[in-house]
């Protein structure tokens, strides 16, 4: 068995490097002093971060992204949590089918959703508007909220709510004092994940955005497709760090609540 263990550890290490190496390289290159993407860089500087902070195109993109991700995350978390609660705890006819339907945007390629939305928005005049972007991002993030909160609800013992009721709690009191506190980590973590997903979303933003309504990924996309310099590496590193921080917060949230994973 020993040999298999070693082999497994080796495989895991290689996969680990494969997952992390590209991101680590981008992080290093973002501090390069050279104006081309050479690794290892000939010297180190913060010029690309300075460049980022001085370029109105990038600053605007960051602004748009933040304007989109906050309403998106709150909207999809509220809608998704309510829906997950109804699906798991309610006795709703066809609940299984409705649950599966709420998850379908996850398996439909974004290009199809994006093209369809673009068409609908042409008719509604929502292309290039903030509400248009937010709605598009809600479609992408909502299924993840339903899945996360739903699975947390499923693993929560329904007898706790029954116990609260027998002990004298009205349905509202039971929800507020028992269900909601126990669900809070899952709700917060889906809020966080919805923000990250919205911040990363490219294809829908590409279709329904406009020259003035450009999110960070759209700006990155047009830079990468053009003649890119390490400024893209700088913004990519920032995105990566934001994701890492969000992931760390999420792990901490779970750990604090004594969950196993």
């Amino acid at each position: 068995m020993g040999a298999w263990r070693v082999l497994r550890a080796l495989a895991c290490t290689l996969v680990g490097i494969y997952l992390i190496a590209p991101l680590a390289i981008v992080l290093v290159i973002s501090f390069s002093s050279a104006s081309f993407l050479r690794f290892p860089p000939p010297g180190y500087s913060l010029r690309w971060y300075a460049n980022l902070m001085n370029d109105p195109a990038w600053l605007d993109a960051i602004g748009v992204s933040l304007q989109v991700l906050l309403p998106t995350a709150f909207l999809s978390t509220a809608l998704g949590t309510a829906a997950a609660y109804a699906l798991v705890r309610g006795r709703i006819r066809g609940g299984g089918l409705i649950g599966a339907f709420l998850l379908t945007p996850m398996v439909v390629p974004s290009i199809i959703t994006a093209a369809g939305l673009y068409m609908l928005y042409r008719w509604l005049g929502l292309n290039g508007t903030l509400p248009g972007l937010v709605i598009g991002h809600v479609v992408v993030t909502l299924p993840y909220v339903v899945a996360t909160v739903g699975s947390a609800l499923r693993s929560m013992d329904p007898r706790l709510e029954a116990a609260a009721s027998v002990l004298g709690a009205t349905p509202f009191a039971a929800f507020r004092r028992i269900t909601l506190p126990l669900l809070a980590p899952a709700v917060l973590s889906s809020l966080l994940f919805a923000m990250v997903l919205s911040f990363d979303e490219l294809i829908i933003s590409l279709f329904v955005g406009s020259a003035r309504m450009r999110t960070v990924p759209v700006q990155m996309w047009s830079n990468i497709r053009g003649d890119f310099d390490p400024t893209v590496a700088a913004i990519a590193s920032l995105c990566f760090l934001v994701a890492l921080i969000a992931l760390g917060c999420e792990a901490l949230l779970r750990r604090r609540n004594g969950e196993k994973e």
Partner: protein, 359 residues
């Protein structure tokens, strides 16, 4: 309108519950007296837990009425019934300390803070956990969690305490210890308790009365000794305690009581059930009532095995006709009998200790 039974705290009459085509509870009627410890005993799926859930208000009956303290409660939600309940896996709120768990029902009833705090202290002392108030449930052992659940269900002195297999998850010695403790609390606090279990020895140990459930119906309700000594049906005889069965033919009565023909031998049985002569019956005899002898009257049997139990011996017998029986004898009596495996013996009993159930 049926008149409420005098002194009854809880009264169920004609209660039914179906899940789709499946009848879970079928026409259950019973009365629980103030201060009584009543146990629902039965195999899983016999309707005992469903009945308990309907008393708690967590399930709605399809028909029948549930009357608590003279008031119909069947349309009342659980939180308006003034009932305490201990759940199978305790259902302690994992995000609240022990104290906050126990204080929860008081809080829901708007008990003033100082008063609530005093009651919680008292409840913690009552279950022997005076210093565990600030712990979280997951930091306690199974037995301790069980005690907290008990304290939480009793702290507001509900009219009725329901317990759904509360000791099912604990190991044997802890279970026996807690059985005695629950019994003590019941005595000291004069609580009325409705207890659900599938463990017949637990039911015999704890209850004032036992209701035996089978297939959604109550087969028999009575004191433990009643059930054990005078089972009302073959099911009760088999489910409560250990019983030997043998099929035979009713012979009718003579001067000494009723008689049954078993493997061609006429044997005495109690005359509790009057079967028409010639009809088939199932005769039940408890192992400790079986007598063995090498001579004299009785059903012939071969001693297959002799099992050493320390204070007693268990004789495994194959009766004429093939049925396997056991007989239980105290150590000294067994040694005096000097019967060895392989030997042929006669099996007999006193008529009052055998019941013939019509088949």
């Amino acid at each position: 309108m049926t008149q409420p039974t005098a002194g009854a705290l809880l009264e169920l009459s004609g209660v039914r519950k179906r899940y789709g085509q499946q009848v879970a509870v079928d026409d259950v009627s019973l009365a629980l007296r103030e201060g009584e410890f009543l146990t629902f005993l039965g195999p899983s799926g016999s309707g005992k837990t469903t009945t308990l859930m309907m008393v708690a208000g967590l399930q709605q009956p399809d028909a029948g009425s549930i009357i608590l303290r003279g008031k119909a409660v069947d349309r009342l939600p659980p939180y308006k019934r003034d009932i305490g309940m201990v759940f199978q896996h305790y259902a302690l709120f994992p995000h609240m300390t022990v104290r906050r768990n126990i204080a929860f029902p008081l809080e829901m009833r708007g008990t003033p803070k100082a008063e609530a705090s005093r009651l919680v202290d008292e409840a913690l002392a009552m279950v022997g956990l005076p210093h565990h108030g600030e712990r979280l449930p997951r930091e306690l052992s199974g037995g301790q969690q069980q005690r907290v659940a008990l304290a939480r269900a009793m702290v507001y002195r509900p009219a009725l305490l329901l317990m759904d297999e509360p000791l099912g998850a604990l190991d044997k010695s802890l279970r026996e210890q807690l059985q005695l403790e629950i019994k003590r609390l019941h005595r000291e606090r004069r609580m009325s308790v409705l207890y659900v279990t599938h463990d017949q020895s637990e039911a015999l140990t704890m209850s004032d009365r036992i209701a035996v459930f089978n297939d959604g119906r109550i087969e028999q309700i009575g004191a433990p000794a009643d059930l054990y000594e005078r089972p009302a049906s073959r099911f009760v005889a088999g489910f409560v305690g250990e019983t030997n069965f043998l099929t035979g033919e009713a012979l009718g009565r003579d001067g000494n009581g009723a008689r049954v023909s078993l493997a061609g031998v006429a044997m005495p049985v109690s005359d509790r059930f009057l079967a028409t002569p010639g009809s088939r019956v199932s005769v039940a005899v408890r192992p400790e009532r079986v007598r063995l002898s090498t001579t004299g009257e009785g059903v012939p049997a071969e001693l297959v095995d002799l099992i050493y139990l320390g204070n007693a011996r268990r004789f495994v017998l194959r009766l004429a006709g093939g049925a396997e029986w056991t007989a239980l004898m105290q150590a000294d009596a067994a040694e005096a009998s000097e019967i060895e495996p392989g030997q042929t013996v006669r099996v007999s009993w006193q008529g009052m200790h055998a019941t013939a159930f019509p088949m």
